[in-house]
């Protein structure tokens, strides 16, 4: 029982990352009808926003440490961040410590700008082009973005920890009456889960309760008619793209303390997020979220020792296996609509 609760928790957490990425992807799919292979790259850029901010905070000048030498025998120099000089050591350290949450504020305008530039500068010319062309151009863009990041940040993962207050884990099992150490859960993952829930809720609320959202939803259902109503769809599409980019970027920012980011993290998530979106059903936001959580939980269960012993290799294929089964039993995924991307 405790093992099952444990994996459900893990799955929800994994799922929240999948759901966030898939949410942005399906916004673009559903509203714009564009297959965006650069979506993973947006996630990655978000993560590197956090890295960049943390680096900015850590901008330092060198101070010689008396009595110690570096590997070549020269006097050892220690880096002192400028923030320490400006705010004093305590406040300076605290700001550096909180660089990841602060990066959210930093990332939102950047991601929206990236999204808008991408849409206005490139994607807009591809609405009427075949999906194959969209794939090629966005894949090319993803490679370019990735290589630029690699050029400046290298290929290795870059550790960017969470604030000290959120390090470590708490014993969830003990709280609900299980034995000690049976269900432990890291603080930051709880933060991530809540964060994802808030973002998902906000996106839904935005689409549900604003006029803008209404038009967009109508556009997802029937683009031509909305276009005929004389509503400026173009502008709204641009905003949607910015929004999707921001969602992907924020997912990336907050993911940084969970796993150190590297330049190809977007590609690692890309295939998975497409699977999630399709399993959820093309053009369905709730579908994407549900599929994200479902696949996260199933993946967690498949990684249990008992399950692997029973079916060797199941943890390698579970996501794809589930995707195949769902697509064969439910032709349009969990909540897909007819006629979206079926040609």
């Amino acid at each position: 029982m405790d093992a099952i609760i444990l994996q459900i928790l893990n799955g929800l957490d994994k799922g929240s990352a999948y759901a966030l990425i898939a949410l942005g992807l399906t916004l673009i799919f559903g509203t714009l009808g564009v297959v965006n292979f650069a979506h993973g790259a947006l996630f990655m850029i978000g993560a590197f926003c956090a890295v960049t901010l943390s680096r900015l905070f850590n901008l330092s000048h060198e101070v010689e440490v008396p009595g110690q030498t570096d590997f070549l025998g020269n006097p050892l120099k220690k880096d002192v961040p400028y923030l320490h000089d400006i705010f004093g050591e305590a406040t300076g350290s605290a700001i550096i410590d909180w660089s990841v949450p602060l990066a959210i504020l930093f990332a939102i305008p950047i991601m929206i700008a990236v999204g808008v530039i991408m849409e206005r500068g490139l994607i807009k010319y591809f609405y009427k082009r075949p999906h194959a062309d969209q794939i090629l151009v966005t894949f090319g863009l993803a490679i370019v973005l990735q290589e630029i990041i690699k050029y400046y940040y290298g290929a290795n993962p870059i550790p960017t920890p969470a604030p000290d207050a959120f390090k470590g884990s708490f014993d969830f099992g003990a709280m609900i009456g299980f034995a000690e150490n049976t269900i432990i859960y890291p603080y930051w993952r709880l933060v991530y889960f809540c964060f994802a829930a808030v973002i998902i809720g906000a996106v839904f609320a935005f689409l549900q309760f604003t006029t803008f959202g209404m038009v967009v939803r109508a556009g997802m259902a029937d683009r031509e008619t909305v276009g005929l109503l004389g509503i400026n769809i173009d502008k709204r599409f641009t905003i949607m793209f910015g929004l999707a980019a921001a969602v992907a970027g924020l997912a990336g920012v907050m993911y940084v303390p969970i796993n150190p980011p590297n330049y190809h993290m977007g590609m690692d998530f890309l295939v998975l997020s497409f699977v999630v979106v399709v399993v959820g059903g093309m053009g369905s936001l709730p579908g994407a979220v549900a599929a994200g959580f479902l696949l996260g939980v199933l993946e967690s269960f498949a990684s249990m020792r008992e399950v692997i012993d029973l079916i060797p290799g199941i943890n390698q294929v579970i996501i794809y296996l589930v995707a195949i089964i769902i697509l064969l039993t439910r032709p349009r995924g969990l909540m897909g609509r007819k006629g979206v991307m079926e040609d």
Binding site: H131, G140, E147, Y151, G313, Q316, Y320, A323
Partner: protein, 400 residues
């Protein structure tokens, strides 16, 4: 000729001449010159050009004609490679049985995966094929290690129990793949002045197979079957109400293109007897999609061009390092040399991916029909320049 019309015959002949003369055409720069870096006329790369050409031609039969975008075609390439290497291990180093088994095996896999995946269309179909291929990759890399060799790949060993043929050569080495004694790796080198041209048995073997594949692809394109496939892409509903069943047609196209992939895999194994699981990773499937679109999906020659360009980038551009760059620009004054090198450096060598990505974007933005469209535009510009007075009837012809 061979049941082709004039235009197709010309195309086939051009391709034949190009492939047969590839050792010359791809080595235009004299050995030792600064430009020799751009020579691609060495056996391995020439083999890759034609093998990936075959892969892309086959993929185009499915994607270019029916519009079904498979994102898992590399799985069949992998199956073909594994089957071929197992034939080398167990039966004989002759490439023919290996190729035959590989084509059959990949055909069977394609039949099974196609039968299931073709129950859906559009992006759902793409994801189904992707899922199958990823499952095959993951299993081949891990739990199926005894069959596939896992991480290190399936390779020949001195202890292989080869039924027809020796386990080891007289010198104690592993025998190499051959066609009735004609070793695939054997080459003759022809030195003309500063030029060096390599004629490799394996390359010519692959090239002949590629020409046959290309010829068959032309026949398929021009056949009633090919027309039905294009009709499927155009309007499945009408096709059904015209009394035709699209399912067996798409499945047949899927299996044919899977067999082409298997053939390519077998040839890869024949040129270099190793089969690795990475061959089935989704990026490998993506690569053939990109080759096809880059060259021009639905055209005959496009996929081959696309395959050539991508493989050229991967093998030539990636090998240019900063030393070579400095060598090229040594004639410039020092400061300027460093500046020029600094500008170019991010795009070559380890930055070759960047160039590739930029090229994808530029081609698809400016040449929506792929490289073939680029060629057509150039040709049209020439034609227009030549005879301005000629009526513009030619431009209404469908693109091929």
């Amino acid at each position: 000729m061979l049941g082709l019309d004039k235009k197709d015959t010309t195309l086939l002949l051009i391709v034949a001449v190009l492939t047969m003369c590839a050792p010359f055409l791809l080595n235009p720069f004299p050995e030792g010159s600064g430009m020799a870096q751009f020579n691609a006329g060495y056996p391995d790369l020439m083999q890759r050009f034609v093998i990936f050409g075959i892969f892309a031609i086959g993929f185009n039969i499915l994607f270019g004609l029916t519009g079904y975008l498979s994102f898992g075609h590399a799985a069949f390439l992998g199956v073909g490679s594994y089957a071929a290497v197992w034939m080398f291990k167990l039966l004989s180093m002759n490439v023919l049985p290996a190729i035959v088994l590989a084509v059959i095996m990949s055909g069977l896999f394609a039949m099974l995966i196609g039968f299931i995946s073709l129950r859906r269309s559009g992006i759902y179909f793409s994801i189904l094929t992707l899922a199958f291929a990823q499952m095959m990759f993951a299993l081949a890399y891990s739990v199926l290690t005894p069959i596939t060799g896992g991480e290190t790949g399936l390779q020949l060993a001195l202890s292989d129990p080869r039924i027809l043929g020796a386990s080891a050569t007289a010198e104690g080495n592993i025998p190499v793949p051959a066609l009735f004694g004609l070793e695939m790796r054997s080459s003759t080198v022809w030195e003309v002045g500063a030029w060096k041209f390599t004629f490799n048995t394996g390359y010519y073997f692959c090239a002949v197979i590629m020409l046959v594949s290309f010829f068959l692809a032309i026949r398929i394109f021009r056949s009633p079957f090919g027309m039905m496939l294009r009709a499927i892409k155009s309007n499945q509903q009408r096709l059904r109400y015209t009394g035709l069943n699209p399912k067996p047609y798409t499945l047949a196209a899927f299996v044919i293109s899977g067999m082409y992939a298997g053939l390519a895999g077998a040839l890869m194994a024949s040129m270099d007897p190793l089969a690795g699981a990475e061959r089935m990773f989704w990026t490998a499937s993506g690569e053939v999609v990109l080759m096809t679109i880059l060259g021009g999906a639905g055209t005959l020659i496009g996929p081959v061009l696309g395959a050539g360009v991508i493989k050229y980038m991967e093998n030539i551009v990636s090998k240019i390092n900063s030393d070579i760059l400095h060598g090229w620009f040594a004639f410039l004054p020092d400061g300027l040399e460093d500046f020029v090198v600094a500008i170019i450096y991010p795009f070559i060598g380890k930055g070759w991916h960047l160039t590739l990505g930029l090229m994808f974007m530029l081609v698809v933005i400016f040449l929506p029909g792929g490289l073939v469209e680029g060629g057509q535009r150039i040709a049209r510009a020439f034609r227009r320049g030549k005879k301005n007075e000629a009526p513009k009837a030619a431009s209404t012809e469908p693109a091929e």
